[in-house]
C-alpha cells in the first residue's frame, strides 16, 4: 500500500502545482435536517465497525465522527462466511457488526452477540413493526433492522435476446453468467429447481441441489461477491445472481437502459440485515449511540438512497425522504404478490457443514 500512496501523493502534489484549483463547491448534503445529537461526551474515543462491503452511505461515517468527535475504524467483509468465521475465532475488537437474518440467528444461538440496551436507543420507535420480532431475533433483544433486500437475477437486455423471467432461463442461457459467492443463497436456488424447499431438511436434498447446479453450471465464468457490478458493467458476463442493491447501484451508475433486475418466478431470497453488538465489544455505549444514530430518519434515508436498499424505518416513509425513483420501484419496495414468492434463509447448524462441503465441490466443478 505504501508505494501506492507515495505514488498518489506525489502525483497529487504535482497536479496541485500545475493545475489551478477549482473553487470548492459544497456537495449537496443529503443529511441536511439531521437532528440527532451525540447523547454524551465521547470525545476522542474510537468505534470499530464491521459491515458488508458497499453497504453504507457516503456521509454516514464522517458525519458521525464529526457529531461525536470520535474516530471510526470501518472494516468490511465480502461474504457471510468471512464474518461468521471472524466472530467465531473470537471478536478481534469490533463494537458494531452488521449481518443478515440467518447470520444473526446463528450468532445469537452461539452466544456471540450482546443483548442491546433499548433505553439507549430512543430512535428504535422509528422502526416499522413489520420488521421487529422476526424469526431470527423473536424477542428483539440483540438486533436492530438496518436495510432489507432480495437476491435475484440481473441481466443485460442488449445481450440476452429473450426476456428473462426465471432461474431456468439463466441455467439454460448460452452465454457467460456470474454467480454470487454465497453458499446458502445459491444452493437454495438449486433446491428450488429440484423441487425441494429452499431451506434443506436433509443432506440428500443438498446433494440433489449440488448435482443440479454442477450440471447446469457450464455457463458460469465467475463466482464472486464484490466484483459483480464491474463484471456486468464491462460486459464480461451477461447475467448475474446479485443482491438487489448492487443491481440498482449498477443500473444507476451506468445511466443507461442496459440492465434489468428480475425476481424469478420460482422465488428468491429476501433478507433483513440488522445491526448488533458482538460480545467482547470494548465500547458498548458508543456502539449504542451509533446504532441509535443509524435509526435517525435523515441518516437512514441517506444510506438507503446511496446503496439503494429498502429501509425498515417508518419515519423515513412519513417524511418522504426516499428518492421517488427508489420508493416507487416495485422490485425494491415489493408488491404483496411478489413477496409471496420470497423466502428467508434459516440457520440450520446441523446442515451448515454439508452446505459448505457441497459448495466447495460446486465452485470447483462449474465453468468451462
Amino acid at each position: 500500500m505504501k508505494k501506492r500512496f507515495i505514488f498518489f501523493v506525489l502525483l497529487a502534489f504535482l497536479v496541485v502545482g500545475v493545475f489551478p484549483l477549482s473553487p470548492l463547491t459544497p456537495a449537496a448534503n443529503a443529511q441536511d435536517g439531521i437532528e440527532w445529537q451525540c447523547p454524551e461526551d465521547f470525545s476522542g474515543q474510537t468505534l470499530n465497525i464491521f459491515n458488508w462491503s458497499l453497504y453504507i452511505g457516503e456521509e454516514t461515517i464522517p458525519t458521525f465522527e464529526k457529531l461525536c468527535d470520535v474516530t471510526v475504524n470501518y472494516d468490511v467483509y465480502d461474504t457471510a462466511d468471512v464474518m461468521l468465521t471472524r466472530l467465531r475465532e473470537g471478536n478481534p475488537g469490533y463494537d458494531v457488526v452488521f449481518m443478515s437474518d440467518y447470520m444473526t440467528q446463528a450468532m445469537i444461538e452461539e452466544g456471540y452477540l450482546e443483548p442491546l440496551d433499548f433505553s439507549l436507543l430512543p430512535n428504535f420507535e422509528n422502526i416499522s413493526e413489520q420488521f421487529t420480532g422476526l424469526f431470527f431475533d423473536p424477542e428483539n433483544e440483540y438486533s436492530v433492522p438496518y436495510l432489507w433486500g432480495t437476491t435475484a437475477l440481473t441481466y443485460n437486455i442488449n445481450r440476452v435476446d429473450d426476456e428473462v423471467t426465471s432461474w431456468a432461463d439463466m441455467f439454460e442461457y448460452d452465454g457467460p453468467v456470474a454467480w454470487l459467492d454465497e453458499p446458502p443463497d445459491i444452493i437454495a436456488i438449486g433446491l428450488l429447481m429440484t423441487g425441494n424447499p429452499p431451506n434443506p431438511e436433509n443432506e440428500e436434498q443438498i446433494e440433489e441441489a449440488r448435482d443440479y447446479l454442477i450440471e447446469h453450471g457450464d455457463n458460469v465464468r465467475a463466482i464472486e461477491s464484490i466484483n459483480l457490478i464491474q463484471l456486468m458493467e464491462t460486459g464480461e458476463v451477461d447475467m448475474a445472481i446479485m443482491y438487489s442493491g448492487e443491481a440498482y447501484q449498477l443500473i444507476e451508475a451506468c445511466e443507461c437502459d442496459d440492465f434489468e433486475y428480475v425476481i424469478p418466478v420460482e422465488g428468491a431470497n429476501i433478507y433483513i440485515d440488522s445491526v448488533s453488538i458482538p460480545t467482547g465489544a470494548r465500547n458498548t455505549r458508543l456502539a449504542h449511540a451509533f446504532i441509535d444514530y443509524l435509526m435517525d430518519p435523515y441518516v437512514a434515508a441517506e444510506i438507503s438512497n446511496t446503496v439503494i436498499y429498502a429501509s425498515p424505518n417508518k419515519k423515513v416513509e412519513e417524511l418522504g425522504l426516499i428518492d421517488p425513483e427508489i420508493r416507487e420501484n416495485p422490485a425494491i419496495y415489493l408488491e404483496p404478490e411478489v413477496i409471496e414468492r420470497l423466502f428467508f434463509i434459516q440457520n440450520n447448524p446441523d446442515l451448515e457443514i454439508a452446505i459448505l462441503d457441497a459448495w466447495d465441490e460446486i465452485i470447483l466443478s462449474v465453468g468451462y
Binding site: R4, A12, T85, R86, R221
Partner: protein, 440 residues
C-alpha cells in the same frame, strides 16, 4: 585455538536474533499449521483435535488435485514465457555500450515495480475486459468484429503472472551477463562457431546460474500466487492459493487449508532442494568434479538426462546436415550478415514490446486518473477533479476518503516501512556477518 572458539561463539551470538526470529515467526507457525493439517472440522468452525489423515486424502484426490496440477501448469508456462522474454531483454541491456544507457534500461524495468502490485493487476482488469481498452481499440480499428474473451481465463492469469514476475527473471540473468566476459564470444567465433553455436556453447552455459535462479524466483511465487488468479482468473483460472485462502477465511475449514498449504510447501521445498543440491554452481575448488558427481547422481536416481546430453546429439546431427549444403564463402558471409540483421531486429522488437508490456498498465492508470468520469474503460474528457478532490480535502460525495485520512495512512506506511527496514537491517546484517565470518 582460543581464537577459533571466540569466532564460533561470536558467530552464534550474531546469528541468534535470526535464529530466534525464524523459530518464533517461521517454525512455530509452521508447526501449528502442520498440527492443524491432521485435525478435522466440527460444526460451527470448531476444530476436532483427533489425529486423522482425511485432509491429505481429500486434497491429493479429485478436485483439489486438479487445481494443484493447474497451478503447476500455470507456473510452468509463466516461467518459460518469462525466460523467453527475459533473456533477450537482459542480453540487450547488458550489451549496451555506455553505463548510463545500461542503468536507464534497467531502471525502466524496475520502475513499474514501485507501484503497488494490486493496483497494477487491477489495471490489467481494465485492459482485458470485454468492453475494456484492448477490445475497444481493436473493435474501433476494425481488426475484430466481436470482443475477445480475455479476462477470467487461465491465459489472463499467466499474463498477469508474467507481468508481475518478469523482473525477477531479468535481474538475475542480467547479473550473470554483466559478469560474463564477451571476449569469450570472439574466441568462440575464431574457433569457427557461428552466432548460434557460440551462444549455445559459450554464452548460455556460462549464464545458466542466472537463468536457473531466475526460473526459481519466478516459479516459486507463481505456483502459490493468490492475488493474480483472484483478480484475473474467474472460475477457470482458480489456483491453489485461492483454495487455501478460501479454507482459512471463507468456509473456515482450517484443517483442509492447512493440509493444502503443507502439500504446496512440500512441492516448493522439493523443487528448491533439487536446485540447491544439483543445479546450483558449487563454490568448491574442485567444482567440475562435484558437479559431475551430483549430476550423475541426479541422472541415476531421477532418470533425468542432463541438458547437454540431450542437446548435443541433436546439435551434432544438425551440424552434419549442414555439410550437405556447402556454400561458397562469400554467400555464406552474406547469409550470416542477413541473419544477424534479422536476429538483431527480432531482439530489438522483443525488448521494445517487453518495455511496452511493462509500462502499459501504468500508463493506463495515469491516463484514467485524469478521466472526467468514474469510468475506467471509456474516455470522457480531460479533468483534474480527482486530484482536486484530494487537494481540497473533500470528504463524502465523490471522494471515498479524505486527504487527511490519506496522509495519516501515508504517515503510518512511512513509519512501518522505517521500522521494518531498521529491524531487517540489524537482524540481517548480524546474520550475514555470522555466515561470512563465523566458523562452523
Amino acid at each position: 585455538m582460543v581464537n577459533r572458539h571466540r569466532y564460533s561463539l561470536n558467530g552464534f551470538l550474531l546469528a541468534l536474533p535470526t535464529i530466534l526470529w525464524l523459530l518464533i515467526f517461521f517454525f512455530a507457525p509452521l508447526w501449528i499449521v502442520l498440527q492443524f493439517s491432521f485435525y478435522s472440522r466440527g460444526p460451527r468452525n470448531t476444530i476436532i483435535t483427533d489425529f486423522t489423515d482425511e485432509n491429505y486424502v481429500y486434497v491429493t484426490n479429485g478436485l483439489y488435485w486438479d487445481v494443484f496440477e493447474r497451478s503447476f501448469e500455470i507456473a510452468l508456462y509463466t516461467t518459460l514465457i518469462c525466460l523467453f522474454i527475459g533473456y533477450p531483454v537482459a542480453y540487450f541491456i547488458s550489451t549496451r555500450r555506455t553505463n548510463a544507457v545500461r542503468q536507464i534500461s534497467l531502471f525502466l524495468v524496475v520502475l513499474p515495480f514501485w507501484t503497488n502490485f494490486i493496483v497494477r493487476t487491477y489495471a490489467w482488469r481494465l485492459l482485458l475486459a470485454k468492453e475494456g481498452i484492448i477490445n475497444n481499440t481493436l473493435l474501433r480499428l476494425g481488426i475484430i468484429d466481436s470482443p475477445i474473451e480475455m479476462l477470467l481465463t487461465r491465459e489472463a492469469v499467466i499474463l498477469g503472472l508474467v507481468y508481475g514476475y518478469l523482473p525477477f527473471m531479468i535481474l538475475p540473468i542480467y547479473a550473470s551477463l554483466a559478469r560474463f566476459n564477451f571476449k569469450l564470444v570472439e574466441a568462440g567465433q575464431d574457433l569457427g562457431g557461428n552466432d548460434f553455436t557460440t551462444f549455445r556453447k559459450v554464452v548460455f552455459p556460462l549464464t545458466l546460474p542466472g537463468v536457473l535462479a531466475g526460473c526459481i524466483l519466478v516459479f516459486v511465487p507463481s505456483i502459490g500466487s493468490y492475488v493474480t488468479p483472484d483478480m484475473l482468473g474467474g472460475v477457470q483460472g482458480r489456483m491453489i492459493g485461492n483454495l487455501i485462502a478460501r479454507n482459512f477465511s471463507g468456509t473456515g475449514h482450517w484443517p483442509r487449508g492447512a493440509a493444502t498449504s503443507m502439500i504446496l510447501m512440500g512441492i516448493v521445498t522439493a523443487l528448491l532442494l533439487i536446485y540447491v543440491i544439483f543445479l546450483e554452481r558449487p563454490t568448491a575448488p574442485n567444482r567440475n568434479d562435484t558437479m559431475k558427481k551430483r549430476l550423475g547422481f541426479l541422472q541415476q536416481w531421477l532418470g533425468i538426462p542432463y541438458f547437454n546430453s540431450v542437446i548435443d546429439p541433436i546439435a551434432n546431427t544438425f551440424s552434419q546436415v549442414r555439410l550437405w549444403f556447402w556454400l561458397p564463402d562469400h554467400i555464406r558471409l552474406a547469409r550470416d550478415r542477413v541473419m544477424r540483421v534479422i536476429g538483431g531486429t527480432i531482439l530489438r522488437l522483443t525488448v521494445l514490446s517487453c518495455y511496452l508490456f511493462l509500462w502499459l498498465p501504468i500508463i493506463v492508470l495515469i491516463v484514467f486518473s485524469f478521466n472526467d468520469s468514474r469510468s475506467t474503460s471509456t474516455w470522457h474528457g480531460f479533468s483534474a477533479r480527482w486530484y482536486n478532490n484530494i487537494a481540497n480535502n473533500v470528504v463524502g460525495g465523490e471522494a471515498k476518503f479524505s486527504t487527511t485520512e490519506m496522509l495519516e495512512a501515508f504517515e503510518m506506511s512511512l513509519r512501518i516501512g522505517a521500522i521494518a527496514t531498521i529491524a531487517a537491517t540489524i537482524i540481517g546484517t548480524a546474520c550475514a556477518l555470522s555466515l561470512a565470518r563465523g566458523r562452523y
